[in-house]
């Protein structure tokens, strides 16, 4: 600006010098041009410090007192090393007219006309700052210091016109080169002191500007049409409704610009209005060095109005209040995979240097479109020059496929489908840079159509879904879940991971609240309610489908343990079907409500999770290979915590067995931990129970492979013997209407069944069979697979002996003579033995004691009776009946000892005793203590049934029932019998 003034002054001064010289000559020497020109040229040498040449000087006399000259081919030469040429000024024609009268009378300079045509001005500054016009400046400086009676106090410029003025200004020191070519301008105004007030109409000029080797403007067309006030001393230019254009980019300006030399600042007070600018024209003005990259094609129309007020220098910016509008914009950028079109925007930019915090960019609206997407935003960006604050609302309708190329290939992420919706954001730049999501506000509602996403091996898809979200959560249900909420509704949501799992949810609705999940120092709080029309999930061999699961899921941490998760789950569902391999479960209704706490102190992952809650199941069926038949569950209702399972209701059925099980299971967690027995106390009520099936259900639970030859009972419970579960103590208070054990049937069974750490005890079980009413106490213990303990305490008070043998065939082995009797009797037996893995008796361990009583027993074998009757000469009326029988016998290993007992038959009383061996040999003695015979006889019977030998012998027990004369041996036998019987019957409960 300052240099422009210098040029202007230089021209004006030269003109005035010429006019004054010419005028002086005019008054003193009225001469024609041929004489005038040399005189002027000679005189000019006094005032022009450079060599000059004048083609011709001609006086032009107008209306008096106007006086003018016409100078042609006026040239000033100022050679300078490095300058484009030696010519400083070459004026093709210069016409100047002044009002001589005004000057004479009022010392006023009125320039009626100043026309400079076809001129060339060459200003040059070398790299050392030396100029080719410096002497003019020196003259001005010197002249101003010398006293002069010709002061330029007032100059009226009525018509100043430049025609085809060409100016070149080269400043090697500053590194720029400027040229104005073909300048055509008209200036009028008044120069009063250092105040120039007038009107500039620059109809044409071509401006070029080169700085540091870079061309910023080249033959840019400039037009200016403006009134102007210039205060030269302050280098202040004031424009009123001025218009200027650069290459057709017009701007209307109102205001002032001042250069403050003391502060090296530009002081502006401008309001402007851009006429609509084509972006292509703007881009054309931008030097290539400032263009981002090649491959940008932008178009559109920009318009703007605004004000710029204040100081502009290296450290200060003026205040700006700018409205900017974009219409019909288009952008093609090779880094973008798609062109943007229909770019429309309107923004308001405000900056106040005194209140930088108050600066903002207000976006009324901004819209853009890609071939398949569109988005728009509006809002405000505050504190532009500090920590920017964004408050934006963005609407988008995006086809994700278009944006996949933005995703780095190494992320292995691919997305498809369409997202539309609105997102509101309210955050600061620092928050975004530091990902302070807890400080940021973001919310929105988006719809997904045909959405699909693949991330590595994980994929997700939704045919149609709606997602509402908000950071922070505006209405948290818990003080810890204020970080965010997400609400998802989808008609079909599918998630899968390669071939490992796949989940499909229809009509799924999720409402999720959460704390800041990024905090790794604490388990996040999460609250999720869900309502799903149907869920189908598969993983490996597991498939599960659930109808209408409805409930909630919460995640938090254990109080005082920030890294220990605590979970709550409540789910109510219908039609649950689960299949895992050959195992399956189906239910009509399934309800679970649980709290699960994690205990990281446990190594076993099962023990790490401690559940508490309740579960209810209706109309279920479980099928497993371990079950020969499906297990039907009419109902199960139970509460549970880590230690206690409390079954309030259960109604189960498997094949022919049906039972209801209620009671309490204790020490569950301790049992898994190995600290305690699993204890249970249950009521077992059944209409019909197949004992073999029930035993198979529990076979081998808790067993370790302690035998080298043992097999995994869990995998194959049908193999090997039944192994009583270890580590548990379960009491079943049984009430069974009917029970089947193989082909045997018992009814009205009542008593306790206890499974206690490898021991199965039937304790005082009473039941009824077709043969008798019975009481059974039995113990089955399985210390190892090939060493199984079986103990039976069996009491039958009114038993059919024939049915007894059917029920317990082994009795025939122990006491074969019973095969010969029929009738009812009383039978007690206690026997114990160890069995091998095939349930064979280890005979060395066999112990037993039995007592039998009978009245009116019938001998079944008529041939035997006839033989006896003939030998003993029974009466003809004698029946094959034993009047009474009372015997005890013991079993020890392979020996069955029958203690002496009295048998009454017809007119005979006999005492029978002996031994029966497991090899079916025997050694009996019968003492006939009362008979029609005059002598007492005894018979020894030895051998086997196939080789029976009789031998008469003395009566070994002749006085057996006569205590007074009883011998010591007989007393000992009776004592042993009494000991055997008393030990047997003391266990009878009724």
């Amino acid at each position: 600006m300052r240099r422009v003034f210098k040029v202007f002054y230089l021209s004006l001064l030269s003109f005035l010098v010429l006019v004054l010289i010419t005028t002086g000559i005019l008054f003193w020497f009225v001469l024609p041009p041929q004489k005038l020109t040399p005189i002027v040229l000679a005189q000019s040498e006094r005032y022009i410090p450079y060599p000059a040449d004048i083609g011709e000087v001609e006086l032009t006399l107008g209306t008096f007192p106007q006086l003018g000259i016409k100078v042609s081919n006026f040239t000033i030469i100022s050679p300078s090393s490095g300058a484009p040429c030696d010519t400083l000024l070459k004026a093709g024609e210069l016409i100047g007219v002044i009002d001589f009268g005004a000057f004479w009378k009022n010392r006023e300079i009125i320039i009626n006309k100043f026309i400079l045509s076809e001129s060339y001005l060459n200003l040059f500054t070398d790299s050392l700052g030396q100029t080719n016009y410096g002497l003019f400046l020196d003259e001005l400086t010197t002249g101003s210091q010398e006293p002069s009676d010709m002061e330029l106090g007032y100059i009226s410029l009525e018509n100043i016109e430049f025609k085809n003025l060409n100016v070149v200004y080269t400043d090697l020191a500053a590194g720029f080169n400027t040229s104005v070519n073909s300048l055509a301008a008209k200036i009028s105004g008044v120069l009063s002191g250092d105040n120039l007030s007038g009107y500039i109409n620059m109809s044409n000029a071509c401006l070029s500007f080169e700085y540091d080797g870079e061309k910023y403007l080249e033959d840019a067309s400039i037009q200016i049409n403006t009134p102007v006030d210039i205060l030269v001393s302050r280098q202040l230019v004031h424009v009123k409704d001025g218009f200027a254009s650069l290459n057709g980019l017009g701007i209307t300006i109102d205001g002032s610009i001042e250069y403050d030399t003391s502060r090296e600042s530009v002081i502006t007070d401008i309001s402007y209005q851009l006429n609509p600018w084509q972006i292509e024209d703007i881009v054309a003005l931008i030097p290539p060095v400032f263009l981002l990259d090649q491959g940008i094609e932008a178009s559109g129309i920009i318009s703007s109005t605004g004000t710029v007020r204040g100081i502009f220098n290296d450290s200060l910016m003026p205040s700006m209040d700018i409205h900017l509008a974009l219409t019909d914009g288009n952008l093609i950028y090779e880094e973008l995979p798609f062109p943007l079109s229909r770019l429309i925007g309107e923004a308001h930019f405000y900056y106040d240097p005194d209140n930088a915090q108050g600066s903002f960019l207000s976006i009324s609206h901004f819209e853009a479109n890609s071939p398949d997407s569109e988005f728009g935003t509006h809002g405000r960006v505050n504190r532009l020059f500090d920590d920017m604050h964004f408050d934006l609302v963005t609407d988008a309708n995006i086809l994700l496929d278009e944006f996949n190329s933005f995703i780095p290939a190494n992320m292995k992420l691919d997305a498809g489908g369409r997202i539309s919706g609105q997102v509101k954001t309210d955050f600061t730049m620092s928050q975004a840079e530091n990902l302070l999501l807890d400080k940021m506000n973001m919310s929105g509602s988006v719809n997904l159509y045909g959405f699909s996403m693949i991330y590595d091996s994980l994929s997700m898809s939704a045919n149609k879904a709606k997602i509402d979200f908000s950071l922070p959560n505006p209405g948290p249900s818990d003080r810890n879940t204020g970080f965010a909420f997400v609400k998802i509704a989808s008609d079909e949501l599918v998630a899968s991971m390669a071939e490992s799992f796949r989940t499909t949810m229809k009509n799924a609705h999720f409402f999720v609240e959460m704390s800041d999940v990024r905090d790794s120092t604490i388990i996040p709080d999460l609250f999720c309610t869900f309502s799903i029309g149907s869920l189908l999930s598969s993983m490996d061999t597991l498939e599960i489908s659930i109808d209408q699961p409805l409930g909630y899921f919460t995640l938090s941490h254990v109080p005082g343990a920030p890294l220990q998760p605590a979970i709550q789950l409540a789910c109510n569902s219908y039609k649950l079907n689960a299949i895992m391999g050959r195992n399956s479960i189906q239910t009509d209704k399934f309800i679970i409500k649980t709290e699960i706490i994690n205990d990281r102190g446990q190594e076993n992952i099962f023990l790490q999770w401690l559940p508490t809650g309740s579960m209810e199941l209706r109309n279920g069926t479980i099928s497993m290979p371990a079950l020969s038949h499906p297990l039907d569950i009419s109902a199960i209702k139970m509460d549970f915590d880590p230690e206690i399972f409390n079954i309030h209701e259960s109604c189960l059925k498997i094949d022919r067995s049906d039972f209801g099980l209620t009671g309490v299971l204790n020490n569950v967690h301790s049992w898994f931990r190995g600290d305690s027995l699993l204890r249970g106390d249950f009521s077992f009520v059944s209409g019909n129970t197949d004992l073999v099936q029930i035993m198979k259900l529990t076979n081998g639970i808790g067993m370790q492979d302690d035998d080298n030859n043992s097999e995994s009972l869990v995998e194959n419970p049908d193999s090997g013997p039944y192994m009583v579960p270890l580590g548990i103590d379960i009491l079943l208070r049984a009430q069974i209407d009917q029970a089947n054990f193989g082909s045997d049937t018992a009814t009205n069974i009542a008593g306790d069944v206890r499974v206690s750490d490898g021991v199965l005890v039937l304790d005082g079980l009473t039941f009824t069979t077709p043969a008798a009413g019975m009481q059974l106490t039995a113990m089955y213990r399985t210390p190892r697979k090939n060493h199984l303990y079986l103990g039976i305490d069996y009491h039958m008070l009114d038993v059919e002996i024939s049915r007894l043998l059917q029920m317990i065939p082994d009795i025939d082995t122990l006491m074969p003579m019973l095969r010969s009797f029929d009738g009812r009797g009383e039978f007690h037996i206690a026997v114990e033995t160890y069995l091998d893995s095939l349930y064979n008796i280890k005979k060395s361990t066999l112990r037993g004691a039995s007592s039998i009583r009978g009245q009116d027993l019938v001998l079944m074998d008529g041939e035997t009776f006839s033989e006896i009757a003939r030998t003993l000469r029974f009466s003809k009326r004698a029946e094959n009946r034993v009047d009474s029988l009372s015997a005890e016998f013991t079993i020890f290993r392979e020996e069955i000892d029958i203690y002496p007992f009295l048998m009454v038959m017809d007119r005979y009383k006999a005492v029978v005793a002996g031994r029966h061996n497991f090899d079916m040999s025997f050694n009996y003695h019968i003492s006939l203590v009362e008979s029609p015979l005059p002598i007492r006889l005894g018979i020894d019977i030895t051998g086997t049934m196939d080789d029976m030998r009789y031998r008469l012998a003395g009566t070994r027990y002749a006085e057996f029932y006569r205590p007074a004369s009883r011998r010591a041996v007989e007393s000992r036998q009776l004592e042993l019998r009494r000991m055997i019987r008393e030990a047997l019957i003391k266990n009878i409960t009724e």
Partner: protein
């Protein structure tokens, strides 16, 4: 009949004489204490009148042996096997030899059992 009666009476008399002449021996029960073996069948007697027995031929280990109580009165050795389930099984034997290394007894049916002491 007389031909039969005379030998019968003679036999009875001889029998009575023989029985009446049988002298019952006394055995020291302390000799019984210890571990006795007959084939794979073992008995162990303790001084307090208890003991246990097992048969390795049936894959029964000593720690799985079954308990009994015992008394030895003169030559009558009584084992009372007590069943876990309830009940007792008495077995009465007559000791015919009891030394530091050898034990022989028989039951009333004449079945003899012979053991040797197991010396560790």
């Amino acid at each position: 009949m007389k031909k039969l009666l005379i030998p019968l009476i003679t036999g009875i008399v001889v029998a009575l004489v023989l029985v009446s002449c049988e002298k019952e021996e006394d055995f020291d029960e302390s000799l019984l204490v210890g571990k006795w073996k007959s084939g794979q069948l073992f008995y162990r007697y303790f001084i307090n009148g208890t003991g246990y027995t097992w048969d390795e031929g049936d894959d029964v280990r000593e720690d799985e042996a079954q308990n009994f109580t015992w008394t030895l009165v003169r030559s009558e050795l009584t084992h009372i096997h007590v069943l876990e389930i309830g009940g007792t099984v008495p077995k009465v034997y007559t000791v015919t030899e009891l030394t530091l290394t050898r034990l022989i007894y028989k039951d009333e049916f004449g079945k003899s059992h012979s053991f040797t002491r197991v010396i560790l």
